[in-house]
């Protein structure tokens, strides 16, 4: 098991956001967490990344306990987080943003290779690499956010709402890229409100509701589940 979350409870002051959830991600898998706004999806990812501290529970990565490591240590071990709302550095150039994604890496040659790789994945970034990231369109910013997260050469990529606020055509592009990544062997844990698209591309899925996991299983099975259809797929 590559990533294992066990009985995780997270609080914001006295409000419990996660009520003992457990989930696993295996190497090469594309796993998605679907659920409505406020269900705890982003909280889950932020806790895995070490930004939030759980009150109970453990997070194991490649068999090692990483629950209380600093965020930069977690990135170093191979977990990369592409946050909700893109959060690119708007005052830095596209290239500088990409280099920040590879901040901890000293293997210059490989970094150069990965720069070439992400620019191949997102050709628009190559064209705009000297531009300030704040001047990019929303879709381009999302691509930059994903590319930046890939620059650490993660063993697991945590993707938080990559389709949020994008035009339908761009949503398709983003999901194409996610499938492409998966085909290239990148393990992905995808958080999405767009359950239809997420369940279509994922191997397995978890349905998160008010801090607990309601359902889990192969994505295609969940997509056919009556409850899921009613709650998340518009009937």
């Amino acid at each position: 098991m590559l990533l294992e979350v066990e009985n995780l409870s997270v609080y914001y002051d006295s409000i419990q956001a996660l009520k003992g959830i457990s989930l696993q991600v295996d190497e090469g898998e594309l796993v998605t967490i679907v659920g409505s706004n406020g269900a705890g999806k982003t909280t889950t990812l932020l806790t895995i990344s070490g930004i939030l501290r759980p009150r109970h529970g453990t997070i194991r990565f490649q068999g090692q306990d990483i629950t209380y490591l600093a965020p930069h240590e977690i990135v170093r071990r191979g977990i990369s987080h592409c946050p909700e709302g893109r959060q690119i550095f708007t005052g830095l150039t596209v290239m500088e943003n990409l280099l920040m994604g590879a901040y901890h890496r000293r293997d210059r040659e490989r970094v150069a290779q990965d720069l070439a790789w992400v620019q191949e994945l997102f050709p628009i970034l190559a064209a705009r690499r000297r531009q300030l990231a704040g001047t990019l369109s929303g879709g381009e910013q999302q691509m930059l956010a994903i590319a930046r997260a890939l620059m650490s050469r993660p063993k697991v990529l945590l993707l938080d709402e990559p389709s949020l606020g994008l035009a339908p055509m761009l949503v398709d592009t983003i999901f194409e890229v996610i499938q492409q990544l998966r085909a290239q062997g990148v393990t992905v844990l995808l958080v999405e409100q767009n359950a239809y698209q997420a369940l279509r591309v994922a191997d397995r899925a978890y349905v998160l509701e008010t801090g607990t996991i309601k359902l889990s299983g192969p994505a295609q099975e969940l997509a056919r589940n009556e409850e899921v259809k009613k709650a998340y797929l518009g009937g």
């Binding site: 930069h72 005052g91 920040m100 704040g134």
Partner: protein, 299 residues
């Protein structure tokens, strides 16, 4: 009304004073940019730098350059230590907690200096070659003024190269814009914050030498005024922005000199009131400063 040479002379004076404000303002601005901390102890590091420079000038036969460089290195270290001991434990606490702590740090540094060295002002005597007056066309200035401006510009160029060409420097800008995203990218923010304090404090020490040389004496509370003025400069320029701090520093330096130099002498006692009026005017027109970048950070 005013002769051209007189105006030129005032420009030179403004440039000298502005260089000092700019150096101090940069330190305030980079720390604020990352931590949202208004570091009230910043001016006191300028004072520590001046005392160290004096000690080196009086007690050692080291070249003059060392009396500038060594205090910069030591005070840079002091800045890192202060962050580690006083501010880091408060990371994540409300911003006001760190603000109050910086007042306490300021008080500790000032009173520590009084206890160990006394509150008596001391003469800050520079070697003759620095005091010598130079004439360039119609304007005159001391060698110290020329050295101060040149050193300030050199340090600012160096800093600009650092934040645009180096990994840690770019990370510093990234942290100032979005600390959480920077952490998610694997940037060790403690390391970046330490760099920010080291650089800011070292620049304050350099400014301390210039300030002390300008006024000829030093005392434990000498950091207050340049610290306050530099804060005004940083806010005028857009606090958090390095180019803003530079611009604000020079603007303030020129404005202050021009106020004193071109208005009736009986008004010159109001120079500080004038400085704050200028701040209010700038903030009325551009509430976040002249070169403010990015959106105000949430949470």
């Amino acid at each position: 009304m005013f002769s051209l040479p007189y105006i030129a002379q005032q420009l030179v004076n403004g440039l000298t004073l502005g260089s000092i404000y700019a150096l101090v303002a940069i330190g305030l601005s980079i720390v604020y940019g990352i931590l949202r901390l208004i570091n009230f102890a910043h001016g006191d590091l300028l004072m520590v730098g001046a005392y160290l420079a004096l000690a080196l000038l009086l007690n050692t036969a080291l070249p003059l350059g060392a009396a500038v460089l060594l205090p910069m290195i030591i005070v840079g270290g002091v800045g890192v230590l202060v962050e580690r001991l006083a501010y880091r434990p408060l990371r994540g606490a409300p911003e006001v907690a760190m603000l109050i702590t910086s007042l306490a740090v300021s008080s500790v540094i000032q009173n520590g200096t009084i206890m160990t060295l006394s509150a008596q002002p001391r003469a800050f005597r520079l070697p003759q070659e620095l005091i010598a007056q130079q004439k360039l066309g119609v304007v005159s200035f001391s060698t110290l003024d020329a050295v101060s401006v040149a050193l300030a510009v050199f340090l600012m160029v160096l800093l600009t190269l650092f934040v645009t060409r180096t990994r840690v420097g770019i990370a510093m800008r990234a942290c100032a814009e979005n600390l959480r995203a920077a952490r998610l990218m694997g940037i060790n923010i403690n390391q970046v914050i330490a760099y920010a304090f080291a650089i800011g404090s070292a620049l304050a020490a350099a400014a301390g030498f210039m300030w002390a040389g300008r006024f000829g004496s030093i005392e434990p509370f000498m950091g207050f005024l340049p610290g306050l003025k530099a804060f005004v400069a940083a806010v005028i320029g857009g606090i958090g922005s390095i180019p803003g701090a530079m611009l604000g520093g020079y603007l303030l330096g020129f404005a202050e000199i021009f106020f004193v130099g071109f208005l009736p002498p009986e008004l010159s006692g109001y120079r500080d009131a004038f400085v704050f009026t200028l701040l209010l005017l700038v903030l009325l027109i551009r509430p976040r400063g002249l070169l403010a970048t990015g959106a105000e950070r949430e949470g």
